[in-house]
């Protein structure tokens, strides 16, 4: 026993370092080591994945091309009052001639025309035409008159309003387009003309079809999950292979299987004709439309519903049902009042997972969706590879990303992201 007075003496390790300090140091070293282990992957993900995503987010508002290619005109336009009815002054016309001249030499002005053409049809040809003819101008009396002679559009005040509006380094026009809005000539924001309103409808269709696919996977997934969960393990281990095999089979294999089955000259139509249900010249159109997308995607996403549902149902003790039955409930009542509520977490996990995967799907709608069964992701791909309107593609992608992240937060609240199970 030590004297109470000497307990002040500090406990030390064998080398005489105070124990507290030594422990702290060891913990710190451990922490540093674990950080060092994670750091390489963190940096890797940052460089190869997060920076690209950030790049896309920035691109949805980026507009540097306009001030960069109009270095003289853009600052001058800032001083011009676009709310009046006056065309810009002679100095601005002069600046524009110089900018176009410079851009024509490097051909960059065509990119500017293409950029502004997304805002107003015809801008591309205005710039192309002007760039071709503006070279000949040698110190004219009036730049304005000469430009109007080249292309009378330069006398349209709305074109100048557009250029001024889009002369900043950032633009909101891509996001406005993505929700079917535009900036009117008077500077107010309003809906696009009816025939150009496609994106909100497409978002709506993406959500509606994804919801339909989710409901279908619940309807198809619930009975077989119940069967798998209540069968003896030996039998269910065999049957679950029927779920896992499609899960492990390439997405493109399954999509091409559905093409072989559903197309006009495909297996199902052949079968129906052979049975005599339909006439040979009235073959059903089951592909390149919404039916194709819904059927193929339900098939592809069904395992993602069955696996979480099955793992939740496995944890429901069979004694619950027996207790309910012994208390006088019918089979049906016991199932609806006891089993279904207990399996809700599985339905929730599977449903959100399937829904999230469905709204971002690209390959299957692209191959079997035709025009009526495509999703918002197909439009994003079109703007990046087809129309080259990268800003709009990025804006649509940003909106889709926000939607998916919101759903994931919901998923995390309900299921917990760590509970994602594989295979």
């Amino acid at each position: 026993m030590t004297n109470p007075d000497t307990t002040q003496e500090i406990l030390t390790t064998a080398d005489g370092v105070p124990l507290k300090v030594s422990l702290k140091r060891a913990l710190r070293r451990k922490k540093r080591n674990s950080l060092l282990l994670v750091a390489p992957l963190f940096l890797f993900i940052l460089l190869t994945f997060l920076l690209p995503i950030t790049d896309m987010l920035l691109r949805s508002v980026d507009n540097k091309i306009v001030p960069d290619l109009l270095p003289r005109t853009a600052p001058l336009l800032a001083g011009w009052d676009e709310t009046g009815q006056e065309l810009p002054g002679e100095d601005i016309y002069h600046a524009m001639v110089e900018d176009i001249n410079e851009g024509a030499a490097t051909k960059t002005i065509l990119r500017l025309g293409r950029r502004l053409n997304f805002e107003r049809a015809g801008m591309s040809s205005v710039f192309r035409k002007t760039a071709r003819k503006v070279k000949g101008l040698q110190q004219p009396d009036s730049y304005q008159a000469e430009m109007l002679k080249i292309d009378q559009h330069w006398g349209d005040i709305n074109i100048w309003r557009l250029i001024k509006r889009e002369s900043g380094a950032f633009t909101k026009s891509h996001f406005l387009s993505a929700i079917d809005r535009q900036t009117n000539d008077d500077g107010t924001i309003g809906p696009k003309p009816e025939y150009k309103q496609i994106y909100i409808k497409l978002f709506g269709r993406t959500l509606a079809l994804s919801l339909l696919i989710t409901v279908l996977t619940i309807l198809l997934g619930y009975p077989i999950s119940y069967l798998l969960a209540t069968l003896p393990t030996k039998t269910s281990n065999l049957l679950i292979i029927l779920v896992l095999l499609p899960f492990w089979t390439s997405l493109l294999v399954r999509t091409s299987a559905w093409i072989a089955l559903l197309q006009k000259e495909g297996v199902i139509n052949d079968l129906l004709v052979a049975v005599g249900l339909i006439a040979n010249d009235h073959r059903l159109a089951m592909i390149h439309n919404q039916i194709g997308t819904v059927v193929a995607m339900t098939h592809i996403l069904l395992p993602f519903m069955v696996l979480p549902l099955f793992s939740v149902m496995k944890t429901i003790p069979p004694s619950y049902m027996r207790a309910a039955r012994s208390l006088g409930a019918t089979r049906f009542t016991a199932f609806v009042r006891i089993y279904v509520p207990n399996s809700i977490p599985g339905i929730g996990a599977g449903a959100i997972l399937v829904f999230i995967m469905a709204i971002g799907y690209y390959i299957t709608p692209e191959l079997v969706g035709g025009t009526s069964g495509t999703f918002i992701s197909n439009m994003i791909a079109y703007h990046i590879q087809g129309s080259l309107n990268w800003g709009l593609g990025a804006a649509l992608g940003t909106l889709l990303l926000l939607l998916v992240l919101a759903l994931y937060i919901l998923y995390d609240k309900i299921v917990g992201i760590d509970n994602l199970k594989l295979g």
Partner: protein, 284 residues
């Protein structure tokens, strides 16, 4: 859903068997499209459906011409080569980085664990089309678009979350007293790691690597954007094949891929069982 008790009423019997029939139909829906591809790939004519000769089991209706086309066509040869090159390299990168990170993340005192985990798993969360768009923009800026390096890095990024998840799952059941007792018996940290930790987490690492390999081997959206014809993989070639000149060669390739996935399914299952056995969890 055990067998019906002998006292079941007629109604219950009818319901029971119709329920089983419904389940049978759903299983058929799951498996039929995959199975139907296999005989179709031996079609002698360039159709995606059964010809009368095939239905009467006339040998003339069957042929190996689409397999022959797959083996001899340079488009497909290049695709097979690229698929393996890209998948192998991205698997090496993602397995290495992912295993290290999982080891770090599993330590109890890791700061901001949830946030860091969220960031590391983000490539799995974001829809492929958005990753593809972002990578297309960014990789073209730094001249990696249309290069093997670009595609390998992109696939490695997409695959690491699977490695992190599987290795972390192995480490959850990891008995720390094993490493402690090794250390207390005088083993150096490196020796503890290689003699105790590595053998125990190997099944998790291998199944993580398998997932990474499949992710890359199967991936088609990102490669359509980040890659070009030169980096075409099997899925790339299938995608453009379905879109342009549809030929049953695709079904022959699909059949081969189905066989590969059966092999993969079997190996993952074997690994899972081995892992459970090693950790002393006996599955029934």
């Amino acid at each position: 859903m055990a067998a019906l008790p002998p006292y079941a009423t007629l109604g219950e019997r009818i319901w029971h068997y119709s329920y089983l029939a419904i389940c049978g139909l759903i299983f058929l829906f799951l498996i039929f499209p995959i199975l139907v591809i296999i005989p179709l790939s031996f079609n002698a004519s360039p159709y995606f459906s059964f010809t009368p000769e095939m239905l009467t089991f006339d040998p003339a209706g069957y042929s190996l011409r689409w397999y022959h086309d797959f083996i001899t066509n340079p488009n497909w040869q290049g695709a097979v080569r690229n698929s393996f090159i890209i998948a192998i390299f991205s698997t090496i990168i993602s397995t290495f980085l992912g295993t290290l990170a999982a080891l770090g993340l599993s330590r109890s005192n890791f700061p901001f664990r949830t946030t860091v985990m969220g960031i590391l798993l983000s490539p799995m969360v974001v829809p492929f089309i958005i990753s593809a768009a972002g990578m297309f923009f960014f990789y073209s800026r730094i001249n990696l678009q249309g290069t093997y390096t670009g595609v390998i890095l992109a696939h490695a990024a997409l695959a690491t979350p699977f490695v992190v998840i599987t290795v972390t799952a192995t480490l959850v059941g990891f008995d720390r007293s094993l490493t402690r007792s090794a250390a207390s018996l005088g083993a150096s940290p490196a020796r503890v790691f290689f003699r105790i930790t590595v053998p125990l987490i190997t099944p998790g690492v291998i199944s993580g690597a398998l997932f990474a390999f499949v992710t890359s081997f199967d991936e088609v959206v990102v490669i359509l954007f980040v890659g070009s014809y030169k980096q075409r993989t099997i899925p790339w070639q299938m995608f453009s094949g379905i879109r342009e000149q549809i030929s049953p060669t695709i079904l022959a390739v699909a059949t081969i891929l189905i066989l590969i996935s059966i092999l993969l399914l079997a190996s993952v299952e074997i690994l899972r069982r081995r892992n459970e056995r090693l950790r002393g969890i006996t599955s029934t």
